[in-house]
């Protein structure tokens, strides 16, 4: 209610209305009272006039004479009425007065009513009489005797009664008007409120909608134009709500798409202020979208290429592709940056968008592939060149002594063996890689593979003076697998361990069960592998030391085969190593599910 009292509209409507009502009441009152007063004065004057005419007849005989009884007669006349009678001689002398002693009275010739009566034949005057101490009305007419003006008679009456009557009239007029005026005022207030209250309600509604409360509805129980306005407002809100919902839904979909993207997306406006950063970009650039938004891109990230890509996209107005490296942990991330200008519907430039694509894996795969092609060519070419040289010598030198010839042919045999090893390793690898489903799965006791490998490698270790120990579980370690591939796995690990362990070192082979996995570990006290090489030793043809590896007769494919065999069996290979102290390979393969060791 207090709010409605502060409504400007209410007071604007109501003030005018109230002023009109009050003014009307006031005017009515004034006219009524004025009318009454005029009537009263007129009636008084008329009555005084007729009294004066009667008095003139009474006074006529006495006007010239000085008869002391005249005064008494007038006084007696006056004592019976409210009217005062005065008879004045033509020269102004007071001859008789019904209230006063005429001898003590002034000359009345200069009284306005007398003067007026002298000239006009009738005089009237209303004035304050000091002798009586009240306002009185005086009416005078001349007394004509023998055709000449012999004197004047004057009648007067106090108007005190008029004041009393006027007040009474005012009171009754006021009493009569007050009810309708009050009713009109209250009614006016109610009508004004009836206009201003819906306005307030609608303003509140519009404000609520503007501040985002689209469920707000304006309720006004009116069937007129104001009601229509409220209905229109509600319809507008409804429509706004549905449009906002559509926009929000679209926006959410877009945001969801953006934030689920693997690629980072950064958008800036023309002044370089960040408009959007998706979650992938947060991770790639190591920034926080909340703090980044609204700041300049070159404040947010110091990856110089980001700012440049966006700037160039805006400046050149075309898509721009570049690459940069961002350090992340132990390795760099290779990020491809695709910058494109952002344009609005009017084809005006409004900013730029940058897509960050992590191509680290792609780049390292490319490197691996390039290395592989280079390596395989090299690996195949080396023995081939040796064989060719030896064969050419044999062909050219017919008279070679048998010992040399034997040495040559032996070398040719060794080199062709090497070629064959490489090719068979490559075949194994490609078999494992291309179609793991072609592996013949059967129940295998891993202990047999270890034992077989141990038997085959024991004498090699002995020749090299490396102590080899195998600790195998007492119960069968059953897995589903390809016997040949698994033997190859164990062989590769064990022969590697022996190869890279110097004289006097030892190799420990252990096979056990941990949970639902078979675990094979091969530890050695060899030369170890540097941390930066540890991630790459499982790559094909990757050798920590190329010369040494080849000298030891490796194909560079052993560990790669180990990794692929393990993967094909659903297992993993891990490696712990310290340069100079030795390496420890650990292969973990899931155990055979089901009845267990009944296959052995």
């Amino acid at each position: 209610m207090s709010r409605i009292l502060r409504s400007r509209l209410l007071w604007e409507l109501y003030t005018g209305y109230a002023v009109v009502i009050l003014l009307t009441a006031f005017m009515i009152g004034r006219f009524v009272v004025g009318d009454f007063e005029r009537g009263f004065v007129e009636r008084t004057q008329e009555s005084l006039h007729s009294d004066a005419i009667l008095l003139r007849d009474i006074a006529l005989p006495y006007i010239d004479a000085t008869d002391p009884s005249f005064q008494d007669r007038i006084r007696a006349l006056g004592s019976r009425t409210d009217t005062r009678y005065t008879v004045v001689a033509a020269d102004g002398r007071v001859l008789a007065d019904s209230r006063e002693n005429p001898a003590a009275m002034d000359n009345h010739r200069d009284r306005p009513e007398i003067m007026s009566a002298a000239t006009n034949g009738f005089g009237v005057s209303t004035r304050f009489s000091r002798t009586l101490g009240s306002t009185s009305m005086y009416v005078a007419i001349p007394v004509i005797k023998d055709g000449r003006e012999a004197g004047f008679v004057r009648t007067s009456m106090t108007l005190d009664i008029l004041e009393a009557r006027r007040a009474a009239t005012r009171r009754s007029v006021a009493l009569g008007l007050i009810l309708p005026v009050l009713a009109a005022l209250v009614l006016g207030f109610l009508i004004a409120r009836g206009f201003s209250r819906p306005m307030l309600t609608m303003t509140d509604g519009a404000r609520a909608v503007a501040s985002g409360d689209y469920s707000h509805r304006v309720r006004i129980g009116r069937r007129d134009e104001i009601g229509d306005l409220a209905d229109a407002l509600n319809a507008m809100t409804e429509r706004l709500k549905s449009q906002i919902e559509t926009i929000t839904a679209d926006r959410n979909v877009t945001l969801a798409i953006l934030s689920s993207m693997v690629e980072g997306v950064v958008a800036v406006d023309r002044e370089d202020y960040v408009v959007h950063v998706n979650s992938a970009a947060e991770v790639i650039l190591g920034i926080d979208a909340k703090t980044a938004k609204g700041r300049r891109i070159w404040e947010v990230t110091r990856v110089v290429e980001v700012g440049e890509a966006l700037n160039d996209a805006m400046k050149e107005k075309r898509v721009r592709v570049s690459e940069t490296r961002i350090p992340k942990g132990s390795s760099d991330q290779v990020i491809q940056l695709i910058g494109a200008p952002l344009k609005n519907a009017g084809d005006e430039l409004v900013g730029a968008v940058l897509v960050l694509h992590d191509v680290s894996n792609l780049r390292s795969l490319e490197a691996v592939r390039q290395d592989f092609v280079a390596n395989i060519s090299h690996e195949l070419k080396t023995p081939l060149a040796a064989i060719r040289g030896l064969v050419e010598t044999l062909v050219d030198d017919r008279d070679m002594d048998p010992d040399t010839r034997l040495r040559f042919t032996t070398k040719i045999r060794d080199q062709s063996m090497r070629l064959s090893n490489i090719v068979s390793d490559l075949l194994t690898l490609s078999r494992l890689e291309s179609d793991p489903s072609r592996i013949q799965f059967e129940a295998i006791d891993l202990r047999e593979a270890v034992a077989e490998s141990y038997r085959a490698q024991a004498h090699v270790a002995e020749d090299k003076h490396v102590a080899i120990k195998a600790a195998v579980a007492n119960d069968p370690v059953m897995i589903d697998g390809d016997g040949e591939a698994l033997r190859e796995l164990v062989d590769n690990l064990v022969s590697n361990a022996i190869k890279y362990t110097p004289e006097g070192g030892h190799v420990d082979v252990r096979l056990g069960v941990e949970g639902s996995n078979a675990v094979l570990t091969v530890d050695d006290t060899g030369i170890g592998i540097a941390p930066e090489d540890q991630g790459r030793v499982f790559e094909r043809f990757y050798r920590v030391d190329k010369a040494r590896s080849r000298q030891l007769g490796g194909t560079g494919l052993g560990l790669s085969i180990v990794k692929h065999v393990a993967l094909a069996h659903g297992g993993i290979v891990s490696l712990k190593s310290a340069p100079g102290r030795g390496s420890s390979f650990r292969v973990q393969i899931p155990l055979r599910r089901g009845p267990g060791p009944n296959g052995s």
Binding site: D272, W298, E299, R302, V304, P327, A530
Partner: protein, 227 residues
Amino acid sequence: MFDQPPKKKVMAKHLQRDLDQLAKELLTMGGLVEEATNRAITALVRHDRALAREVASGDDAINDRENLIEENALKILALHQPVAADLRFIVTALKVNNDLERIADHAVSIGERAEVLANLDPLPLPEDFDKLVTMVQSMVHDCLNALVERSADLARSVCMRDDEVDRIHRQMYVDMQAVMRRDPKFIEPAINAISATRHLERIADLATNVAEDVVFMVEGEILRHNY
């Protein structure tokens, strides 16, 4: 003149635009220098020769940018005669610019040491060395962040870290001496490692300078030599 106030406003707008541009160039410079530092350090830690050479090749761009920033800063000073915070920012930009360029120079030197070290026998480095490297990287990173955020607190934390860097730097001398005594074949790599450490320590000092300049810019208080 009647149009004095609007003209002044236009000039203020120009000044603001020029200051923004200067800040952008300075931070880009910071980005390049940080990248160079990180590359040099990575090359040193990973014995990556190619990366080490990249540091040196990027230095020309940094030198050019230093000149550009200095020219622009002087141009703003001459043209707008800024006062108070604006003036402090420009003075800071000039000083930071200078320090950043020198950080880049040290990064190049570290790159050179890294290249030499990559060709020599691997040296057993004390664990503190990794800590030194991480701290120097974080100091460079944070002093630039302090500049971006205009955060005196972050800047002060960079200054605090300098003592630890100095301690590790001194300790490295002792450690390297021990290594050289143990095996003369480590003399050459150890000398190179000491040189690299020295450059790292200098980078930390310069990062501290930058941090001090940031405190000056934010608070108007000259922190140098008295904390």
